[in-house]
C-alpha cells in the first residue's frame, strides 16, 4: 500500500500502488440535463466493440434511469450499503474509500454481480420516485423525479480494477491514462469485476477473459472522440483531457468545466478512485440524492449551470458538445460564435450560440418561383 493524492477527496489516501499520473489523462464531461436515454451511445459501443459471442449481455456503455435503474442490478445501492454511511467535511472526505475499507485478505472492498444481475439492462426505465395519484404540477426540484445516467468506464486515476488484478494484467496507458485489460494475458479470475465499483469490467464466457471499455483508443490515437461521444444525439458529451487542479487551464474545455466553473463533478468520488468522467448534475433532482452521488460540490455546480442564460462563455462551451467528431483540446468564444481548437490553436469547429433565422424572398425572381412555408 502507498499513500497517494486524490484531489477529489481533498486529501491523501492509501492505494495498492504509488501515485503515477499519465502525461495526459483522458476525461469527459456528461451533461445529465441533456441526456435523453436514447441508448444510441449504447448501440454505438455495442455494434463497434461487443458484437461478438459471449458479449451479448455486455454494455461497456449503458444508460440507466436513476434511481430505480441499474446495470448491473443494484450496483451502486449494494456497494454504498456495504461501505455504510460516510461523511464529508466541507469538500474534504472524512469517510473511508474502497481501498481503506478493504477487508482482510482483499485489496479492495467490492462484490461480484450474480449472473441474473445482468439480466434486465434497462430495468427502472423512466420510473420516478414518489407517487402520482391524480394530477400534479412538478416544479424544480421535482417532487417525483428520475434522471438518466449514461455510464462508461471512468478511466480512473486510481482504478480499483487495476489494483485488484493479481496478475497485473490491467494497466494505465502513460500517454492518455486509458485503462486496459490485456486480452492476451487475462486469465478470467474476475477480481476486477469484483473490485470495480462502477461494474464496468465484464467477463466474456466465450473467451474466458474480462473485457472493458477501451475509450476507443484507436480513435483517441487519431484525435477523434470515442464512438459513444460522436453518436450522442443528446449532445451531452465532450471528450478531452483533464489536468490536476493546480495545472488547470481555462482554454481547456474540460478544465474549464471541472476546475474553473466547477459545474461538472465525478461520480461517487467518495469511493476514492478519482474517476475521470465528470457529470453536470440534473437541475430537477433533490440535493441529498445528488450529494450522495456527486459529492458536496453539487449545490454550487447547479447554481453555476443555472446561470448559463447570462453566461455566454458557459452556454457557448456547452454548444460545442456533440458538434464535432474530433477531440478539441482547446476552445474559445468570439461574440456569438464558439470555436473548438486543436492544441496548436487551429480551428476545428465553429458553431453559433443560437441557430440563425433566414427569411427568403416570397418570390425567388432568379428562379421564377414562389418560396412558401405553406406549399
Amino acid at each position: 500500500m502507498a499513500l497517494v493524492r486524490n484531489w477529489q477527496l481533498g486529501r491523501d489516501m492509501s492505494y495498492w500502488y504509488p501515485e503515477a499520473r499519465p502525461q495526459r489523462q483522458f476525461a469527459a464531461v456528461f451533461d445529465i440535463n441533456k441526456c435523453i436515454a436514447c441508448q444510441t451511445c449504447t448501440l454505438a459501443c455495442k455494434t463497434t466493440w461487443t458484437s461478438g459471442k459471449g458479449q451479448e449481455y455486455m454494455l461497456w456503455n449503458n444508460v440507466e434511469s436513476k434511481p430505480y435503474g441499474f446495470y448491473p442490478l443494484a450496483w451502486d445501492v449494494k456497494l454504498l450499503d456495504m461501505l455504510g454511511a460516510q461523511q464529508w467535511q466541507g469538500n474534504r472526505y472524512a469517510g473511508r474509500t474502497l481501498f481503506e475499507a478493504a477487508p482482510a485478505g482483499e485489496r479492495v472492498l467490492g462484490w461480484r454481480p450474480d449472473d441474473l444481475d445482468y439480466a434486465h439492462p434497462n430495468i427502472g426505465e423512466d420510473d420516478c420516485t414518489g407517487r402520482i395519484d391524480a394530477g400534479a404540477a412538478l416544479t424544480v426540484p421535482h417532487a417525483a423525479w428520475f434522471f438518466y445516467l449514461a455510464r462508461i468506464c471512468n478511466h480512473c486515476t486510481y482504478p480499483a480494477c487495476l489494483a485488484s488484478c493479481p496478475r497485473g494484467s490491467i494497466y494505465k496507458r502513460p500517454e492518455d491514462g486509458i485503462v486496459l485489460v490485456d486480452q492476451g494475458r487475462c486469465r478470467g479470475y474476475r477480481e476486477c469485476v469484483k473490485a470495480c465499483p462502477y461494474k464496468k469490467v465484464f467477463y466474456n464466457p466465450s473467451t474466458g477473459t474480462s473485457e472493458k471499455c477501451i475509450a476507443c483508443y484507436p480513435k483517441i490515437e487519431q484525435g477523434e472522440q470515442p464512438q459513444c461521444f460522436v453518436n450522442c444525439i443528446g449532445k451531452i458529451r465532450l471528450a478531452g483531457f483533464v489536468s490536476t487542479p493546480e495545472q488547470a487551464r481555462p482554454d481547456n474545455p474540460i478544465d474549464y468545466l471541472v476546475h474553473i466553473r466547477k459545474v461538472a463533478l465525478p461520480l461517487f468520488p467518495q469511493l476514492g478512485l478519482e474517476p475521470n468522467v465528470y457529470y453536470i448534475p440534473p437541475v430537477h433532482v433533490p440535493l441529498p440524492y445528488l450529494e450522495q452521488m456527486f459529492g458536496p460540490r453539487v449545490g454550487a455546480a447547479l447554481a453555476a449551470y443555472q446561470g448559463a442564460p447570462d453566461d455566454p462563455d458557459l452556454a457557448g462551451l456547452l454548444a460545442l458538445f456533440g458538434s464535432s467528431h474530433q477531440v478539441m483540446p482547446r476552445w474559445k468564444r468570439t461574440g456569438d460564435q464558439v470555436l473548438g481548437l486543436a492544441e496548436d490553436g487551429r480551428e476545428l469547429l465553429r458553431v453559433p450560440l443560437r441557430e440563425p433565422v433566414y427569411v427568403r424572398a416570397a418570390f425567388d425572381s432568379a428562379r421564377g418561383v414562389v418560396r412558401t412555408n405553406v406549399p
Partner: protein, 282 residues
C-alpha cells in the same frame, strides 16, 4: 445456495470424500510399463494413494480465508519418461459451465522447474526459481467432451439475431469468415483460449512468483477428468521434470478450485510442497 452447502460440503469431504485411508505418507509414483489411458483406467484401482489435506491460500492477496475443499487424494505412476497423477476430491456441486458469474471447478499439479533439495516458494515459485504447473479445468473438459461453442450451450433459450461473422454474405468456414469471428473475440485473436473450443482440458504453465503465471511456451502435458458421484477424478500426465528420474525424490504441490465458491486464481485450496518419490523398476 452456496452458503447452505458449505457446512455440508466440509463434513462430506472430511467424512466420506476420500477413498479408504491411504497409508502413503508422501506422493509416490509407481513405475508402470504403460501409463493409464485415463482417470477411469482400472489400473488406478491398484495404485496406493496419498491423501493430501488442503490449506487455505492465505499467503498473498486475494487470500482464501474460508476453507472449502478439505483434501485431495493423489495417486501417481510413471513410465520412465512421463509422470501421471490422478487427483480425486469431493465436490457436491458440478461447475463446468462458463458464465458471467459462473466459475469452473479445477485442479493443478505444481513442480519445481529445477529439481533439488532447495525448493522455491510453494505459492507460484519465486524470482529466478520457477515452478511448472499442469492445470485442468472442468469447463475445458466440457468443451473437449463436446459442449458447443455457442450461447445456447450456456443459455439454452438464448436468441441472438446476428453476429458480424454470421452475415449471410460471408461463406461459413471461409478464411474471411473465420478471421471475422476471431476479430470479435479479442482473446482468441491473441491465442489466449481461456474458454471456447479446446482439444485438451489441460494447460502447461510456468511461474516464478505470484502474478507471474503464464502459459509454458510448449504444451507437453495431457489429461482428462470426469465427474464422479460425489466429486471429480482427474488424470494429469506430464514429462518427468528435468533432473528427476526413477529412484529420485522431489516435491510436488496441488491445488483445487471449487467453482461454486467462485474460486479462481489465488482464491483456492492448496497444499504446500509434498515429498514426491519416483519409484524404480516395475
Amino acid at each position: 445456495m452456496r452458503k447452505l452447502l458449505t457446512p455440508f460440503l466440509l463434513l462430506f469431504a472430511l467424512g466420506c470424500g476420500a477413498r479408504p485411508p491411504a497409508p502413503l505418507p508422501e506422493v509416490t509414483a509407481f513405475a508402470r510399463p504403460a501409463l493409464p489411458q485415463g482417470c477411469e483406467d482400472p489400473v488406478w484401482q491398484k495404485v496406493p494413494a496419498h491423501l493430501a489435506p488442503l490449506l487455505l491460500q492465505d499467503l498473498v492477496e486475494p487470500r482464501q480465508l474460508v476453507a472449502t475443499t478439505a483434501a485431495v487424494t493423489v495417486q501417481a505412476v510413471h513410465d520412465g519418461s512421463r509422470l501421471a497423477f490422478r487427483l480425486s476430491w469431493a465436490d457436491p456441486t458440478h461447475d463446468d459451465l462458463p458464465g458471467a458469474a459462473r466459475f469452473s471447478d479445477a485442479c493443478a499439479v505444481q513442480l519445481p522447474a529445477v529439481a533439488g533439495a532447495d525448493l522455491p516458494a510453494p505459492q507460484m515459485g519465486e524470482a529466478g526459481r520457477p515452478v511448472e504447473i499442469t492445470a485442468w479445468r472442468a469447463s475445458w473438459q466440457a468443451s473437449v467432451d463436446g459442449r458447443g461453442d455457442d450461447m445456447t450451450a450456456l443459455y439454452p433459450r438464448a436468441q441472438v439475431d446476428h453476429y458480424p461473422f454470421t452475415a449471410p454474405s460471408l461463406a461459413p468456414g471461409s478464411p474471411e469468415q473465420e478471421e471475422m469471428a476471431r476479430r470479435y473475440a479479442p482473446a482468441r485473436a491473441l491465442d489466449n483460449p481461456m474458454e471456447g473450443p479446446r482439444t485438451s482440458p489441460v494447460e502447461d504453465l510456468v511461474a516464478d512468483g505470484p502474478g507471474t503465471l503464464r502459459p509454458a511456451p510448449r504444451a507437453l502435458s495431457s489429461g482428462s477428468g470426469r465427474r464422479t458421484r460425489d466429486g471429480w477424478e482427474v488424470q494429469l500426465v506430464r514429462p518427468l521434470p528435468a533432473g528427476l528420474g526413477p529412484g529420485q525424490r522431489g516435491a510436488v504441490a496441488f491445488a483445487v478450485w471449487d467453482g461454486s465458491h467462485q474460486e479462481a486464481g489465488a482464491r483456492k485450496m492448496r497444499t504446500g510442497w509434498v515429498p514426491l518419490a519416483i519409484r524404480e523398476g516395475s
